[in-house]
Assembly symmetry: C3
Homo-oligomer: 633 residues x 3
């Protein structure tokens, strides 16, 4: 397979006479994919059930005949204003109890059946019309589920659906009361109809109640997406995708991914740096024009897994964006670096968002490959360079990584509901482990808890607050060096604490007798170097103590190839752990210079210099924002 | 009297077969009290007016027959879900105008008469059934009034009740308009029915309006509590208590206390440290595992006063809790230290909350004396040690302290309504004075403004924004060295400024001619050492100037034994003031090492080392978290 | 003309027997103006359409006969409580969707026609009764439009009025859709009735939508004010004023000013320092008792322009106020300094707010010239000193300044809607330029974009996001040295980006090819000294590069006398720019000592020492808080 480039284009925003010219320029630049349509409902259906397909027919035709393959988006992220007259209660309600209004995007509640029917209707029309088009080579459902905190809604539609969901899950109200421990604080219900959404309670609601609502909310997204996928699949052979955002954990991307053919995501390295990479201000300063060196790679690996190997970057930042606290321009070379990094991690395609900066409305300060005056922006040359390099170089050979890191959306919800310490989040915990692996030069596959462990030398599974018995058994038996904890199996599936105490894993004689959270600066020093910070557990049991505090309290314990880690390690401690595990399996590691990262494919080692200075590596010198391809022995 | 230990237990949370075993373990540990029942409404009355008493009968019987004395809580803090069907408008409304929902606890408005009637009904049934039980040796009304900001409600029930309250207080609307100064900004009302609660005004409401609402809200709590007390008292001879929280000032604990036989409070030293002790981050770090050295003692002394001598710790933290920003484990020894500190301050009993960590629902990360797997937690051994020590040592002999410190809830409301400077709170002002007294090794009694001043050598009364004429006269005549100010008598009872200007105390020729608030770092240096920070007054008058700024402006002035302090002194200045006053009455003081505190009883001096290092004191060395009992000459 | 002093007085707050005595004291102090009445609606109309004029008649008579000229305020800022019974929906709705209540002031929505009619009614009665009074020498409409964020309301009255306004502005819905670019995100409307106010959208609304709403909201204020002016003007020859606040930019003060005869403002230097002067904490500390050295002068110059030369300080801070985060007392001499500074900038009158500290209600901690006990406060002596100095010295001779600085409310709204970087505001940008001019010793006139440029040597117009073609042409042709940018002409009148790219000024070959925002500390160094911070543009074009980064990227470009500045200069860079421009026109500058400022009139140079230390200047030594008048050659 040849990796490909593309872009996101909105013919409805531009004069019709530009379309052909734009298409030619795209082709000339070396782009082969063009995504269109995902915000165009109003232009296709200007009045309810009155349609104007002509422009879209022509746009697809013009683009296709120029040689481009079209990704057609269903337009359900932006229902027209008239939709609200048909379904006045379709809007979501936020955690303050306020209905959110029309005037931007994503203004719908996933649980509203009336709106879902409207989506089925419009998607059917799209798929009927374009499902066999020679130019429509892929589909996208909706756009960026969850963006702008839109997964969770406290609407009456959600309330009714949640009660149904609970009834299906628990059968009887007695069963629910027991599972949730509602005897505490006299919270027992007499019927499912008494259960409200967990909003505006006097103090925090029962965590079991909250977790159920988070699971329900996630499933509503999957249900919504599946409805579209089924319609398209019946009418088209083109693969179906959805584009995820960065650090969007409010729904289970693996579950939605199982219904898709390709998973894509929207990579905005500079936009993410300040508002979701979770890095220190010093790092924000150092990488202001480059983005965090691990954050994008983490998502590449996560979404490769969610797409079962097939994944794209559907929106790649090409210059300053409009929505972050600060919006600098990338260092020259970074657009190329980001693109190659995606390919090195296995992306089939990287599409730049957007083709051209739009002079009006909300995203008018979002860069494109072209400026608003139709002149090429600086990113164009970097895209063209990648296109040439793609043509000239051998294809990226995909390969299984030696290390698997498990990511579990359910654990993320559980940590959010009960972080125990103010600074603690599951996402950051997993990302900290990912960073440590990357600092050691290791390539990583990210797996769901249900993933296939075959062939991995090391499996890291930090923070899995609930673990099924089957997962425990698989980890114990898989043969890889396994790292679990902190908080491993700390709760049963209804957020209760197991007895015997966690982790309660047969064959691993470790018991967490007490947990505490700490002010970030009050760390516990570990013998030999590094510290525990933020979250710390007291461990008991007969397993071997492999790490202990300087006072002698166990920090990590091991039986066979399974290590339990009783706290949140800092950088030095995680580096030690990774080295130790790698050494035990004979996996070579390296200490990379600050800001340099590698990714191994089947035949090459890609080196990326995320800094603004030249660096010397064992594979040779790399200029600032540079990429180096090293053939593997 | 023998001091006693106890615990808080929830039989409804555990299998019936555990009850007897738990009771035996409690007795074996040396506990004699067990509190039960306060969240069990739903289990006692599963459906409206359908009851299940059997389990509670048995629980009381099992515990009692094991030798334990039961404190029975009325279950009104957690009305069952069906209660909302009977009284849909019983929920409180918050300052944003949002009705708060079911799903946690304290979901009721104190002003709702329908709910109050339900409480009367269930309390009558409890008291009828258990009022003469040989095992029920004490009662508790409801639980933690005010916790989770539940005193103030902007419901329509509160609105109606407030109008009635105003009519009773002011008689005519003209009288209210005049007292509040409503002529300002054309706020005069034509009738009481026009007066809304002070919520969501365009800018701040009239402080007189706010203060009236705060007083009303406090009285609604007292009314609610009194209704329960009257019912129980008519049916039982056992003493009646309520358990207060730390730094909960939204209702007048003295007023509620007057209806109780015993006042109890819930002491969570580590939980309080970050979120309400008002200490610097450096102190939070130093005492992360010990709690603030003065915060608990302050409440011991405050609630001893509210209980007119009879007080307990009803909930004593035994390990990490679940609700603070960070939840570390206590230093070994601290549970014992906290317990002994309570006894040294006169507690009749200290009950650990909770008997056993609960594996489900909101407080599943709250430690107990036992772990969730029925194994003893570290605190158990410390409790047992205290039990042995109690048995072996002489009883604590209570004695009046040489110093009285006045605490006035009304003043706290007034400062909250009009702090004048962003950092200023009455609670912190009083606590700063308390800390200075403690640093000097003095034992303190805390009194309400109506307290009996007899026998005190020194009386400190900072920040009393309103002082009745009678209080002024009593302070002038009491013979003790009296310290008042800043803001002493700064307002009349309706929040207006008196003429002549404050403090307007006959016999004290001091007048506050101007007040100002300062950025915290812009202090005013005082000759001889120390500074005024935050709040500063210009003083005039013929009284003797006893402290002045380095520029010569009066800071403290005195006539006879009454000193007026025209600002908020820093640590050094308050230390100087305390030394000076003590010297004037021949009261010995000492300079205690950092983190060491003493408390004198009638026969002993208790020394407490709140640090994690051994210290040497004049009474001998004390280990970290250690307690030393020094017999008094 | 003789400059005059005055005060703000509320006869309704004080016993009638005090009125004459107060009036005599005012006259004796040298005051000639007294403002009354602006909050007195309830006292004049105690019940709907039942009036009590007697007291106001007498108050005006007593004050007038004592020799004072009365400024009579219309009482519409504080409708009585009964007004809400007549117009329950007259209250404004805030950005959270909550109706704000009665109980303070400014509790009305500008768009409510019923309330507007009530205002017309009461103003007609005021004007009929006092329009020809010999004592009423000036009028004030309402009070402090916009104070407490009261310009913007999301009420249903506002919603209806906004739709009407849009229909008038755009004619057809197609025209609006096109102008706003509503094709983006399918936001196109089918009719004006579908357009909601831009509140609680899921993510940000279309900036064109927001800007239209801001313009509409501003015009509603002008409409409201105009209704009062027309009534008064038909019935009185006395000049009509309104008193603006500091840094209140939610409505266009120039537009409202065009309907007034005199513009006044309320100058609270210490109150403003922390909460709106936009200065560093270090500056807040240094000027804690003096206020920012430029903030008041900026408003003097701004409001002199809004009043087309006629302006007053209607409320001058005389001591500590009640409403800032901290409320210190002014340094001795500052009240005199502030007063003279106003006169030096051309004020006709300075009135101290308030005559006497009020002992009750919301502003009881706001100082007056007298204390609440009728004794003179420290400010009285300073006011009296100014009165003597006014009598003894020659009048201030007004003169056009050599420099004009343009301030545009529309630009302020645009920057608020789309700051692009978290710290960026238009007001601060303009103020930074003003500060640089002041540091160079230059006197400044502030102009609206429609102002007359004749006679100015230098014109600074930073940050004008929209510039009409006429404005561009006038600036190019005016002959002065002109500085524009950053963001000059960055948007068309409907918030879209122009093509050719901005600034698109004929005769100035500069094009902004890319914009970025930066973390505040990540500055771009400029060759020769100084930096760009926060906001930075990439410039292209054939114009001369007059400033460039140390890497050689253009920062400022010039053709003829027009300089385009492509970023936000720091202090050093703005000083360089000002020096350079001044040098080009032969305008002398000086480097003033820290905290010293000058203002040149037609015949004098006034020197003001804002520091608490004596300074030596070329005109001689000036004591702390001192004023020096230097005759001009």
């Amino acid at each position: 397979m040849k990796r490909a480039l593309g872009t996101c284009y909105y013919p409805e925003h531009w004069p019709r006479e530009l379309w052909a010219k734009d298409a030619q320029r795209m082709v000339k630049a070396g782009l082969t994919w063009v995504r269109i349509g995902e915000f165009a409902w109003k232009r296709v259906e200007p009045r309810p059930e009155m349609f104007d397909w002509e422009w879209l027919d022509e746009a697809i035709d013009v683009l296709g005949r120029a040689g481009l393959s079209v990704v057609l988006g269903t337009p359900t992220a932006t229902p027209p204003r008239w939709m609200l007259d048909r379904h006045p209660d379709m809007l979501a309600v936020d955690a303050e109890g306020r209905q959110r209004g029309f005037g931007s995007r994503r203004h719908y509640c996933f649980s509203h059946d009336g709106y879902l029917d409207e989506c089925r209707r419009i998607v059917t029309l799209f798929a009927d019309r374009y499902g066999r088009s020679p130019h429509v080579a892929a589909w996208q459902t909706d756009n960026e589920y969850g963006c702008h905190d839109t997964v969770i809604s406290y609407s009456s539609a959600a309330s009714k659906a949640f009660r149904r969901w609970l009834r299906e899950r628990y059968g009887t109200i007695e069963s629910l009361n027991y599972a949730w421990g509602n005897v505490f604080w006299s919270m027992e219900y007499d019927s499912f109809d008494q259960i409200d959404l967990p909003i505006l309670t006097v103090t925090e609601p029962n965590p079991a109640h909250s977790l159920a609502f988070r699971r329900f909310s996630s499933e509503q997204v999957a249900r919504f997406n599946r409805a579209q996928v089924e319609i398209i699949r019946a009418r088209s052979d083109a693969p179906i995708s959805h584009n995820y955002m960065g650090r969007e954990t409010a729904f289970d991307h693996f579950e939605v991914g199982r219904d898709l053919d390709i998973v894509t995501w929207d990579s905005y390295p500079l936009g993410f740096l300040e508002d979701r990479a979770g890095v220190t201000v010093a790092t924000q300063r150092r990488y202001s024009r480059q983005g965090d060196p691990d954050f994008q790679a983490f998502h590449h690996d996560l979404y490769r897994s969610a797409g079962r190997g097939r994944w794209w970057v559907m929106e790649q930042q090409p210059g300053p964006v409009n929505w972050a606290p600060h919006n600098p321009a990338p260092l020259p070379g970074m657009v190329r670096l980001w693109t190659w990094e995606a390919f090195a991690h296995g992306a089939e395609a990287v599409c730049y968002f957007r083709w051209r900066q739009l002079p009006f409305a909300q995203e008018q300060l979002h860069s494109g490959l072209q400026r608003a005056d139709l002149v090429d922006a600086p990113a164009m040359a970097e895209a063209e360079q990648v296109a040439r390099e793609l043509a000239d170089a051998p294809d990226v050979a995909e390969a299984q990584a030696p290390v698997a890191l498990i990511f579990d959306y359910d654990a993320s919800w559980a940590w959010e509901i009960q972080p125990h310490g103010a600074e603690l989040s599951y996402f950051d915990l997993v990302l900290d482990h990912y960073r440590a692996l990357r600092r050691a030069g290791l390539s990583v596959d990210i797996l769901p808890p249900t993933g296939d462990f075959d062939g991995y030398r090391m499996i890291l599974a930090p923070g899995l607050m609930h673990m099924s018995d089957e997962l425990k058994a698989r980890l114990m038996a898989c043969g890889a060096e396994v790292l679990i904890g902190p908080r491993a199996a700390a709760r049963n599936e209804d957020f209760a604490i197991l007895r015997p105490l966690p982790p309660a894993i047969s064959g691993l004689d470790v018991l967490v007798s007490r947990v505490e959270s700490l002010r970030p600066e009050l760390t516990r020093s570990v013998s030999g170097g590094g510290s525990i910070w933020g979250y710390s557990e007291d461990l008991e049991g007969a397993a071997e103590v492999v790490l202990a505090t300087t006072e002698g309290a166990p920090v990590a314990m091991r039986t066979g190839s399974v290590t339990y880690m009783g706290g949140w390690g800092d950088e030095e401690l995680l580096d030690r752990l990774v080295s130790d595990l790698a050494e035990r399996v004979g996996q070579g590691t390296r200490r990379l210079p600050e800001g340099v990262r590698v990714r191994e494919t089947g035949t090459e080692r890609f080196w990326f210099n995320h800094t603004d200075q030249p660096v010397n590596t064992e594979a040779g010198p790399i200029p600032p924002a540079g990429v180096l391809r090293e053939p593997l022995g």
